[in-house]
């Protein structure tokens, strides 16, 4: 019941939610997260954002992350969408949707999926600011967020 997609085109939150909602009458909770392109990076505005990834490996890593979430929580379905290519401020970048019987599993799994995706999946952001391109640096706060899932005893 899991769907992993890497795509250049946009996604529709309502459609993705509906797909998860209609999967099974056992679905009692759907948690969704959508990541957007901010209009600033390092305190200055950006013109655009380009997302590069490692085709083949990214899909494999996302599948591993989804498998881990399914092992940790009792879930009915996961949808994971990540866009690549050139995006503009306010564009949607990433979608995580989790359907489960109960809300705690869906909330926690959605957060886990995002934390792991941000620190393990092979995507790289390049921003364009005033006509100049530079690669975005990884953030320690993202590593810290992912690391807390290692200390929960499972």
């Amino acid at each position: 019941m899991n769907s992993i997609r890497i795509q250049t085109h946009d996604f529709n939150l309502a459609e993705e939610y509906q797909l998860l909602r209609e999967l099974s009458p056992a679905v009692g909770a759907v948690v969704t997260f959508t990541g957007l392109v901010r209009d600033f990076e390092l305190d200055s505005s950006i013109d655009s954002l380009t997302l590069q990834h490692y085709p083949g490996m990214t899909e494999k890593l996302l599948q591993e992350i989804v498998d881990q979430a399914n092992q940790r929580w009792d879930l009915i379905a996961i949808t994971l969408i990540h866009r690549v290519g050139e995006l503009l401020p306010r564009d949607q970048i990433v979608f995580v949707g989790v359907a489960s019987q109960h809300r705690v599993a869906a909330f926690e799994a959605a957060q886990f999926l995002m934390d792991y995706l941000k620190t393990k999946a092979t995507f790289w952001k390049q921003v364009s600011q005033d006509g100049k391109q530079h690669w975005v640096e990884s953030k320690d706060s993202d590593s810290t967020a992912a690391a807390r899932w290692n200390t929960r005893g499972d």
Partner: protein
Amino acid sequence: MANRVVGYQRTTALIKLLFFGRLGDFAKQVPATIQASTPAEIRERLNADYPDLVKELCQPQVLVSVNQMIVSWEQPLAAGSEVAFLPPVTGG
């Protein structure tokens, strides 16, 4: 030099190279393939012509994959392997 060439013929294989993120900016002139027996040897062999790239590759956060699996820098390479150099990821 002659010994080195003999050594390469005995122990090395043709490897496909990929550089992602900011590493790609330093690797624009690097050939698509190289002969080497480990990722660490690739780094050594690139050092003469691409010292700026190799300096980046030596950063501890840079990971290396072989055929899309993260491995150690000493992983033995088979002919036709795809070796990718991965700076810290920034997706999401």
